[in-house]
């Protein structure tokens, strides 16, 4: 047995769905939904990406190890984004330990004086 050959009809249906979603995301962008604009745009983008991956990239019919690689990549990416964003946007919410702050301040000022 060899690889699955998808019927042509599927490719054209996926193409039409991608075009429809492109027009949808483009037109929705002109409506003011506040912060929901980004949520809707990203949801539509994820739908489009899933259609491409599942059907154009044959993930639907591939061995599950390919899906595992994609899952791993997306999972690692989510670690990268979550931890970096989590760090940057909690720096002001969580105060620096006082002793650390003082030590760094002394080190900086004495270095500046030496120059």
């Amino acid at each position: 047995m060899s690889e699955h050959i998808a019927p042509l009809k599927i490719y054209f249906s996926v193409f039409l769905a991608l075009m429809a979603l492109t027009i949808l995301t483009w037109q929705v962008a002109y409506i003011d939904l506040g912060p929901w604009n980004t949520v809707v745009a990203l949801l539509i983008a994820v739908c489009k990406a899933s259609l491409v991956a599942m059907f154009f990239m044959h993930l639907r019919w591939s061995a599950s190890v390919m899906r595992l690689v994609l899952f791993a990549a997306v999972f690692w990416l989510s670690i990268l984004i979550t931890l970096t964003v989590g760090d940057i946007f909690t720096r002001h919410a969580l105060p620096q330990p006082h002793s650390w702050h003082a030590a760094a301040f002394v080190a900086n000022t004495s270095a500046a004086r030496r120059q």
Binding site: F12, T22, A29
Partner: protein
């Protein structure tokens, strides 16, 4: 068994195993590509949240219509690439050549629109940081930062497309010489995976860069 025309290379048991090994290798490469673009998307996420107004202003300076047109062209090229893979799988040489050329033409149309309609226009408008930046409205330095993200992200994406065009040229010559048939088409299919991946990157770039400021 050092025959380059052998369908199954000697290290593989059968075609299925050979095909899965090639696909797995390509998917792992694409995983590294996801991390590569992921760094840019992470930077974008952070600075967009720090300087939201400037990013919306910068996005508003871009032409969402051209962005949508290019999205449609790229999705069209993904369709022709999928049809090229299908033609290769069913052993139709003439159709394979036709669809490779179609994919290359659509990809070239995308790149020409990007370089000669968009970037040239951006340069004339003075929104290219470092080269010609005359925007003097509010948050000018952070708008410049948005434009940097725009040029680097779309630029790296365009670079991937140029690389794809190069590989497609090689595959076109190979297809012309009849190197593919129902049993030998892994190269075409792996090229398809790459091309569709580049399409997916654009699917995220389009709303994040062009549509962010469209409603203002």
């Amino acid at each position: 068994m050092h025959n380059s025309q052998a369908v199954v290379a000697e290290q593989f048991d059968d075609r299925t195993q050979q095909h899965e090994a090639a696909s797995l290798g390509m998917w792992i490469f694409l995983a590294t590509e996801i991390m590569f673009f992921g760094g840019l998307f992470t930077g974008y996420t952070i600075y967009r949240n720090l300087y939201t107004a400037a990013f919306e202003t910068g996005s508003h300076l871009l032409n969402a219509k051209i962005g949508a047109l290019n999205t449609a062209i790229l999705i069209g090229s993904s369709l022709t690439m999928a049809l090229a893979v299908h033609s290769a799988q069913t052993g139709k040489r003439a159709k394979l050549i036709f669809f490779i050329i179609s994919t290359m033409c659509l990809g070239a149309a995308f790149l020409l629109i990007k370089f000669f309609l968009e970037w040239t226009h951006d340069y004339a408008e003075g929104t290219v940081p470092g080269l010609h930046f005359t925007y003097a409205g509010p948050h000018a330095s952070h708008v410049a930062m948005f434009m940097c993200f725009y040029f680097i992200m779309t630029g790296v994406h365009a670079l991937h497309m140029i690389a794809g065009e190069g590989v497609l040229t090689v595959l076109l010559i190979m297809a012309w010489r009849g190197r593919f048939n129902e049993e030998r088409y892994n190269a075409i299919e792996m090229m398809g995976l790459y091309w569709h991946f580049v399409d997916i990157v654009w699917i995220f770039l389009f709303p994040l860069l062009y549509l962010l400021g469209a409603r203002f």
